[in-house]
């Protein structure tokens, strides 16, 4: 989230799309309804009428996988009717930048497409620059090569009629939503968008979110209170664990793991990964401080801070890559903790089969999960499974301490309430034990390959680690005396500082001070910044890009909801006058005056300081609609059916469905009453009694066609497998009328599995191993199925 949960109350319009916030983030809805009480309009766009839609002022249905068309048409609507916030767009975005005249787009492809290699040559995806390399601009936005004019032309094809024919949204409903949200284009108005997996689990998920970002930039909604784009993350610390680098190519603080090809040496890494301008110029300080934190003494300057210890990536290992490799027998050992891929992994038939090919598997969880029990799952003969499995009992969050980072980037400390039962232990304990045991096993080895593990700094106590000590390392310290650094601004690239995760730096600014433990809330009637509650990364900033909440002269666009403004009289520590003041920590150099060079560039993480309407991703610098890899219809916008760069896996169990055999769109989602794979919640009687069985929601029309009655058992089938569910025949799903065609969609929650108190088939038996072109997240929100009465 660019902003945070409470800030939603400051919005004038809330578009919930790709999320069912009332269902999956019920407490967040407190703030959605608070905004509504204050007069905000609540818009719900979803294939199905959800608990969120029930509270919305306007609801518009759309076929799964067509969100870019819907949002693109909103962009078109805003541009055509001059509803965008012109000054913001001109000053704060790259709208006025001139693109290479050779850049263009035709029939689904941007310039540079190589049909042989199936990749883009990005040579033309760039600005025209002057001799200094500064992009050329036309602030009138009239030049046909401006980003703005490209945007206009690109989205001109995204008309309300197209929305009706592709998304199945009645034109009138689309226009109502589009109009209501476009009203936030006025400078004093703010609109926010809440999304979740409904936007990410597509083969063009990243582009979809970019479409949203473009719209928000056009409407001047980024950086302001009540604005922003809110990724509603699904698990209590999925934000923090991502921040900490638990993704294959990531190191803590979003420092990329070096690759063998691009970064053979530290010098290569720093040169290639550090831009010339923007905040990332500091990357060497962050990276070197990380190496110091990890490898201590061994990370000496003369040895390139032990850069060679860091594993260099070769092949990709995103979730699906990992399981494909496992299925191919390339992965021998697997450690799974608090996750349950046998249920949550797409094409779970393949992923379960992959587990059989492991030599050993370690699972740590609260209950016996499907992943731990894969060897006795449906259709599996234990005798034939040679995998050794260790299942270790885990403690719950109330039986251990530590900090969680919520979706709004707030670090909050949680105190331990009780001791865990029996041999249940925390993940910290597991890591600590394992590190000590491995260090002991490798002790004395002089082999080069064993030096990284032997050099790894590790001193957190014997059993349960001292987590505040860990947090102190994460925060960073000066290597000379071990004193905490006050923030990442003082980190250095010469080895004088160590820091485990630069973005968290400042959480322990002084010894004995842990800002994650701060518990001073703002009064309810305030703007809701709550700077005294927890610690928000970076540097306790609550609204990212908040320089953009003020106009180019430094005055707030909306005085009533002012976040930041330039005070020319305020005194700086050095006695000079003029600084940014307000209720939040400036996301800007605090003394950089609006009229100074760069004083009007709010997006400091970007080299040019401008919001990127034009921003290259794998499949192009502007979002374009393609049909899902499995779709019942032809792409009406171009002859390119699916995202040309979608990742499609080709193992024998990776089958794709033919629309003739599987004419119905299938989608998966979650329920309030269960969490993810249900490994916890399907064991809790109070939750099971509310949601006992797997069900499949479908329209009355489809049910009629198939002779299915509400409550009947049905079989939902895809090219990958089939599941048995109970039919929920409802008016909340309606068939989509696409021109003269009718397309049906069904939905099925993915919480069930074969273990636990409430058992059922897993919806992911149906979903495919196909992934987003940028993130490789699976396309489980739009795939093809058929339904029949069981």
């Amino acid at each position: 989230m660019t902003n945070h949960w409470i800030d939603v109350k400051n919005a004038d319009a809330i578009l919930i799309m790709g999320s069912n916030a009332a269902e999956n983030h019920p407490i967040a809805f407190k703030w959605v309804l608070e905004a509504k009480e204050r007069g905000a309009v609540l818009l719900s766009v979803d294939p199905r009428f959800t608990r969120t839609s029930a509270l919305a002022d306007l609801y518009a249905p759309l076929r799964s996988g067509t969100d870019i068309v819907f949002l693109g048409a909103m962009i078109n609507h805003v541009l055509r009717n001059n509803l965008f916030q012109r000054e913001y767009v001109v000053e704060y975005t790259n709208a006025s930048f001139l693109l290479d005249p050779a850049f263009g787009f035709e029939d689904g492809y941007f310039t540079g497409w190589d049909p042989e290699k199936k990749t883009y040559d990005r040579a033309t995806w760039k600005y025209q620059v002057d001799a200094d390399g500064t992009p050329l601009q036309d602030k009138t936005l009239k030049d046909r090569n401006t980003v703005f004019q490209h945007l206009r032309r690109h989205f001109a094809r995204y008309t309300p009629e197209m929305v009706e024919r592709i998304c199945g949204t009645p034109k009138a409903e689309f226009l109502k939503v589009g109009h209501a949200f476009a009203a936030t284009g006025r400078p004093e108005k703010a609109g926010t968008m809440l999304y979740a997996m409904g936007w990410t689990q597509h083969t063009k998920g990243t582009q979809l979110i970019r479409t949203a970002a473009i719209l928000q930039l056009l409407l001047g909604n980024i950086g302001v209170a009540g604005g922003g784009i809110a990724a509603l993350r699904g698990l209590s610390n999925v934000q923090g664990t991502t921040d900490m680098g638990l993704l294959w190519n990531s190191l803590p603080g979003y420092l990329t793991l070096p690759s063998a090809k691009a970064h053979p040496t530290l010098k290569d890494y720093l040169e290639k990964e550090t831009p010339k301008s923007g905040y990332w110029v500091n990357r060497p300080k962050f990276f070197v401080s990380l190496l110091k934190a990890w490898y201590g003494e061994a990370a000496s300057k003369d040895k390139d801070f032990a850069f060679h210890f860091v594993p260099k990536v070769g092949a990709s290992f995103t979730h699906m890559d990992l399981f494909e490799a496992m299925y191919a027998g390339k992965i021998k050992g697997f450690i799974v903790a608090g996750q349950n891929p046998a249920v949550s992994g797409p094409n779970s038939t393949l992923e379960r089969k992959a587990l059989e090919r492991l030599e050993w598997l370690v699972v740590r969880d609260l209950f016996e999960t499907e992943t731990a029990a894969f060897w006795k799952g449906p259709g599996v003969d234990p005798v034939k499974v040679q995998t050794e499995v260790f299942l270790l009992p885990s403690s719950t969050h109330l039986e251990r301490e530590g900090s969680y980072t919520n979706s709004g980037r707030w670090l909050q400390w949680k105190w331990k309430a009780v001791d865990p039962p029996g041999n249940a232990r925390s993940d910290g304990w597991f890591a600590n034990q394992l590190a000590q045991r491995l260090k002991a096993l490798y002790a004395g080895s002089t082999a080069l390959k064993d030096q990284p593990i032997l050099s790894l700094t590790w001193d957190y106590g014997k059993d349960e680690p001292d987590l505040e000590k860990v947090l102190a390392e994460v925060n960073g310290y000066t290597t000379a005396d071990g004193k905490p650094v006050r923030g990442f601004a003082v980190l250095t690239d010469d080895g004088a500082t160590a820091c485990g995760n630069w973005i968290y730096s400042g959480v322990l600014p002084a010894e004995g001070q842990n800002r994650a433990k701060s518990r001073k809330a703002d009064p309810p009637e305030s703007l809701g910044i709550n700077a005294g509650w927890g610690f928000s990364w970076p540097v306790n900033r609550r609204i990212l890009y908040n320089r953009a909440s003020a106009d180019p002269k430094g005055q707030p666009w909306n005085k009533e909801k002012a976040v930041l403004w330039w005070d020319p009289t305020a005194e700086l520590p050095d006695g000079k006058k003029g600084k940014w003041v307000g209720v939040d920590v400036p996301d800007f150099r605090p003394d950089l005056a609006p009229d100074a060079k760069g004083g009007g560039n709010p997006f400091i993480m970007r080299p040019d300081g401008k919001g990127a309407l034009f921003g290259p991703l794998a499949e192009g610098p502007l979002p374009e609609h393609y049909e899902p890899v499995e779709s019942p219809v032809k792409n009406l916008l171009s002859s390119v059916q699916a995202n040309p760069l979608a990742v499609i896996y080709k193992a024998d169990l990776d089958k794709l469905g033919d629309p003739k055999e599987f004419p119905i769109v299938g989608t998966t989602y979650r329920l309030t009453e269960h969490l993810h794979t249900g490994s916890i919640t399907r064991n809790l009687p109070w939750l099971v009694e509310m949601m006992p069985n797997l069900f499949c929601e479908m329209s009355k029309e489809l049910a009629n066609e198939k002779g299915i009655k509400n409550g009947d058992a049905v079989i939902v089938r895809s090219a990958r497998g089939e599941v048995r569910a109970i039919a929920a025949v409802t008016g909340r799903f309606k068939p989509f009328k696409l021109g003269d065609r009718v397309v049906h969609e069904v939905g099925i929650p993915w919480h069930w599995g074969f273990m636990g108190l409430a058992k059922g088939d897993s919806a992911n038996m149906l979903t495919p191993h196909v992934g987003d072109a940028n993130t490789r997240i699976q396309e489980s929100k739009a795939f093809l199925v058929d339904v029949r009465k069981a």
């Binding site: 209590s236 890559d321 021998k332 797409p346 609260l366 209950f367 530590g402 910290g428 505040e468």
Partner: protein
């Protein structure tokens, strides 16, 4: 003998008057009093386990047991409120099927065996070492790559930052590249 509670009479209203609701109570029936079950319990603040809203919860602990889990009224996001999942969380702590012992399943076996935790940890460490040693790639050409792609880790997104940091540090320290978690799917 005393008249029934005045409030009964008051409450009974018109309809009861028609029915002649004049009652006499023979026994003494004071309104029973139940003590607040959290009375005297220690309130431990924490953060909800489930989604990423980050609601504050407080666990009421008495005699080393959690007797109630409620919303933290001081928390600015949820202000004491909680959804159904969080309200049911106490059942995890009281659950008869919670894992409390290390279990081991030998190749081809049809059942789990209970094992001492220490044994399991040592075995795991040895498996990691064996697989790492057998699959470690020190160099690709001239470039030191120091990695193994034959050991993978997955999870978790519901552990503390500090724990995640330790796992990341240890994993990379061992040279493991395939480390993923819930954020990808």
């Amino acid at each position: 003998m005393s008249l029934t509670r005045r409030d009964f009479l008051k409450g009974a209203g018109t309809g009861a008057a028609l029915g002649g609701a004049v009652g006499v109570e023979l026994g003494s029936a004071e309104a029973y009093v139940t003590e607040l079950k959290t009375k005297g319990a220690k309130e431990v603040p924490s953060i909800c386990y489930y989604c990423a809203v980050g609601c504050g919860i407080k666990a009421s602990v008495a005699d080393g047991k959690v007797v109630a889990i409620q919303g933290d009224p001081e928390h600015p996001i949820n202000r004491g409120t909680l959804c159904s999942k969080a309200q049911a969380y106490i059942q995890v702590l009281q659950h008869p099927n919670r894992l409390t012992k290390a279990l081991y399943r030998a190749p081809g076996a049809a059942e789990w065996q209970e094992k001492p935790l220490d044994w399991a940890m040592e075995q795991i460490a040895q498996r990691i070492k064996a697989t790492r040693d057998a699959t470690f790639v020190e160099k690709e050409g001239d470039v030191p790559v120091n990695r193994t792609e034959a050991i993978a880790t997955l999870g978790s997104a519901i552990i503390a930052n500090e724990e995640a940091y330790l796992l990341a540090k240890l994993g990379r320290g061992l040279g493991i590249v395939p480390m993923e978690h819930q954020a990808r799917i």
